[in-house]
């Protein structure tokens, strides 16, 4: 049985409408206040400063950024070790690296292969060399970028979801924002506030992983590439610790199982965040097959390993979060990232270098390039809705280091389908030959198409409340206070067989799904919007603006 045998009640066409009663008009509308969206807003601000007539033509609000979280940063989560080059380019040298909210430069790093009892140091794969990069909290970085964007003239609109794509005459005209104040059955509550139609000359989708309108747009404009996108689920924690950690750690192996039939691809990371904090996370490809696998609990188990336990000893868990990462890389990129009136950037487009675990600097660069393409088109005075007007974006992206990097590592992740050891060998060959080997292009298979099996993964340690924790405590720590009577934003069939219900129950890091008699019960208010369900047989849509996690240091 596979999850795709039970498709969710979701049709992307539902989310494409023609503008009917437009209320607000802005110049460029950016959806998502993450690194891609904010880089786009910042670059636009810079360009508009030197083009006052265009700025005026764009009206009262030349650049608007919609953010579904409570504030920029609330829904941002990553490791993260950031390559600063794109930020340096974005700020044109006007902002020094030491003025950016980084938490320390990477000087030392180690990679380990773990067994239950041991940690064997292995040489860092060349794709994973991080010297010169910086550790950051993406949430904090997002907040800082939002300040820069506002200073550059952008208007940031938090607690606002982009729920539908406005399309007319074959071009994107803007978005319709989400309603607020609906009850469990969709009824209008006393403080119901309907969404608004926001028109824009150019709409930039920078929604991050599993971007809602990104998926809708790819479908509407036929932009999907040859290979389906695949994802990994990352679950991480931030700890206040007694002893500072002085190097960046990546691990592979335990607690994941290397046998081919399990398809458990991933690993963990432990990064120092300044002198008194550490972040530890577990990332696992969602093409795994064992219905009992729980990334949340694998992270708890990982912490009991001697290597990690001693780093966290005497410390206190202060943050938790989860988010999916697009893992298809080059092979899964849409065939085009622009459409009439539309540009797509960042993780939403799938611009992630999996072997290097890097996506933030690509997001920033793609946002910057999108800004330039939008600006050029607007400057020329042509309608950005004209077919091909924004093609400059795809062009510049293909000429950038983003494309070059992704192409070089395109076959590495798929190699790991052959199991850890063989996969590792193939990845090594790919590195050594800078992508010429293995020859040709591999393929990706949908995560939801993986046959499920019961492999006995669920022998996780019972939470002790000190080092290891249960899912509800974790959800609490994410700051999630979504109101209980909000309508469910998760499209999923509830009458599913026990294996599928069990899969979802273990998969979800926020305990949204529970296997019950006859199917699955969904507690949507727990959801931290990680997106895992979309990869495995359901579909996440954006809930009411302002709900979900309130990350601050993830």
């Amino acid at each position: 049985m596979k999850p795709s045998d039970y498709l969710p009640p979701f049709d992307p066409a539902e989310f494409v409408v023609a503008p009917a009663e437009p209320e607000i008009e802005v110049g460029v509308l950016v959806v998502g206040a993450g690194p891609a969206g904010l880089a786009c807003a910042i670059r636009l601000g810079q360009l508009l400063e030197g083009a006052p007539e265009l700025a005026e033509r764009l009206g009262d609000v030349p650049v608007a950024v919609l953010e579904k979280g409570k504030q920029p940063g609330s829904h941002l989560l990553s490791g993260a070790v950031v390559n600063p080059r794109s930020l340096r380019t974005l700020f044109e040298g006007r902002v020094r690296t030491d003025a950016m909210p980084f938490l320390g430069r990477v000087e030392h790093e180690s990679v380990y292969y773990l067994t239950p009892k041991r940690a064997m140091r292995i040489p860092a794969p060349p794709t994973m060399r991080n010297r010169g990069n910086y550790v950051a909290s993406l949430s904090q970085l997002g907040r800082w970028l939002a300040e820069q964007a506002e200073e550059a003239g952008a208007t940031i609109l938090p607690e606002t979801t982009a729920s539908k794509l406005l399309v007319a005459d074959g071009r994107v005209r803007g978005v319709q924002t989400g309603d607020r104040g609906r009850g469990r059955d969709g009824e209008e509550l006393s403080n119901f506030e309907p969404g608004s139609e926001v028109l824009a000359s150019v709409t930039v989708l920078a929604e991050g992983t599993q971007g809602h309108l990104t998926g809708v747009a790819l479908d509407r404009f036929g932009l999907e590439g040859e290979n389906p996108q695949v994802w990994a689920l990352g679950v991480k924690e931030v700890w206040r610790v007694q002893k500072p950690l002085d190097h960046v750690i990546h691990t592979m192996g335990w607690p994941l199982r290397g046998a081919k039939r399990y398809r458990e691809f991933g690993g963990s990371f432990v990064y120092p965040m300044g002198d008194d904090m550490v972040t530890v996370g577990m990332v696992v490809g969602l093409d795994y097959r064992d219905v009992e696998l729980s990334v949340h609990d694998l992270l708890q188990e990982l912490k009991t390993h001697r290597l990690v336990r001693k780093i966290l000893e005497g410390g206190e868990r202060i943050a938790w979060g989860a988010k999916t990462i697009p893992e298809g890389g080059f092979l899964s990129l849409p065939r085009q990232l622009n459409a009439p009136g539309l540009l797509i950037c960042g993780d939403g487009a799938g611009l992630v270098n999996v072997p290097a675990l890097k996506g933030i600097h690509y997001a920033v660069e793609s946002g910057r390039l999108a800004a330039e393409a939008a600006f050029a088109s607007l400057q020329r005075g042509e309608a950005p809705g004209r077919s091909g007007a924004l093609a400059g974006y795809d062009q510049s992206l293909r000429e950038s280091f983003v494309w070059e990097d992704l192409k070089r590592v395109r076959n590495m992740r798929p190699a790991f389908e052959r199991g850890f050891w063989l996969g590792g060998a193939i990845a090594g060959a790919a590195t050594a030959t800078r992508g010429k080997l293995p020859p040709g292009d591999a393929h990706t298979e949908r995560d939801a198409d993986q046959e499920l099996l019961s492999g006995g993964a669920a022998s996780y340690p019972a939470p002790d409340g000190v080092l290891t924790f249960d899912k509800l405590s974790s959800v609490f720590l994410s700051g999630n206070k979504t109101r209980d009577d909000a309508p469910s934003h998760i499209r999923v069939r509830t009458d599913v067989p026990p294996e599928l219900a069990t899969l979802w129950e273990h998969m979800c890091p926020a305990q949204v799904y529970e296997a019950v008699d006859g199917g699955v019960e969904v507690t949507a208010s727990n959801c931290v919007q990680c997106g895992a369900i979309t990869a495995k047989g359901g579909r996440l849509t954006p809930p009411e603006g302002g709900s979900g996690p309130e990350y601050t240091v993830t």
Binding site: I24, A64, T160, R180, E193, S196, V198, T552
Partner: protein
């Protein structure tokens, strides 16, 4: 009709509240937001203005400069103006000092109605309005769960331990509303976008005719000596029911004098 709503900038609940061991006060250095309980007061003010057909709603706050951004939410909901008293000398003000500062601003504003929310999510202190009402020499109704206004008067249903009182006061008056009074509206997108353009004024103590000694720790009459751990809850007893659990519970309740 002019309504002044006193709103507080409080540390964001998500950014775990912490007391600063150095100052022994709330660590307010992190992100902050508009006190959720004051949002009910803002909503009530908006409803009164809508019922009256016109009026002005001014948000009055005492806090750091960063508070202005948080107060914008009130403007997005429909309030007209923000006046923020921001002065380094005011940091660490207790009830006496805070009420003194707020009263000074409110005297300037001369509102028909002054509204407070139920409590502040950071200090749980639920008493500021009474002190302000006394300084302004205005009638006070607190814990208001329902509010109506007729010509020159307000009538409030006040929630007490014994049920509801109905109290009437002539305007100008000071009212504190409970969170049961209304379901606050979500700001519309237009409202959010228009918020930045509305007048936001920052004043210092000197602008209010107050000297530095009137505020902050110097102007306060209470002190914080030390922070500590709460007393342990005491032993947790756990028993398995062998048929006598109900008796055991009864004895326990009697022993603890809660029966």
């Amino acid at each position: 009709m002019k309504i002044a709503v006193c709103a507080k900038y409080v540390p964001d609940a998500a950014a775990r509240l912490r007391l600063d061991p150095a100052t022994k006060r709330l660590d307010r250095s992190g992100e902050g937001a508009l006190n959720p309980f004051d949002i009910n007061a803002i909503e009530e003010a908006l409803r009164l203005k809508e019922a009256a057909g016109d009026g002005e709603i001014v948000i009055v706050s005492l806090g750091p400069e960063g508070a202005l951004e948080a107060m914008r939410k009130a403007l997005a909901m429909g309030a007209d103006r923000v006046v923020l008293v921001s002065d380094e000398e005011a940091a660490g003000s207790d009830l006496v000092a805070t009420s003194r500062i707020l009263a000074a601003v409110l005297e300037r504003e001369q509102a028909d109605l002054v509204l407070f929310g139920q409590q502040a999510s950071d200090s749980d202190g639920a008493v500021l309005w009474a002190a302000v009402a006394d300084r302004l020499r205005r009638p006070l109704i607190s814990q208001v769960a329902e509010l109506t206004r007729e010509d020159g008067k307000v009538r409030g249903k006040r929630q007490t331990e014994y049920g509801y009182d109905v109290i009437e006061a002539p305007l100008p008056a000071v009212l504190a509303v409970s969170d049961a009074i209304n379901e606050p509206r979500y700001p519309s997108l237009k409202g959010i976008m228009g918020a930045k353009k509305k007048p936001q004024e920052t004043v210092a103590l000197g602008d209010l005719g107050l000297e530095a000694g009137a505020a902050g720790e110097a102007g306060s009459a209470t002190e914080v000596y030390a922070l500590g751990d709460p007393p342990p809850r005491g032993e947790t007893r756990k028993i398995d029911d062998d048929g006598s659990a109900a008796d055991a519970i009864l004895e326990f309740l009697a022993e603890k004098k809660v029966l």
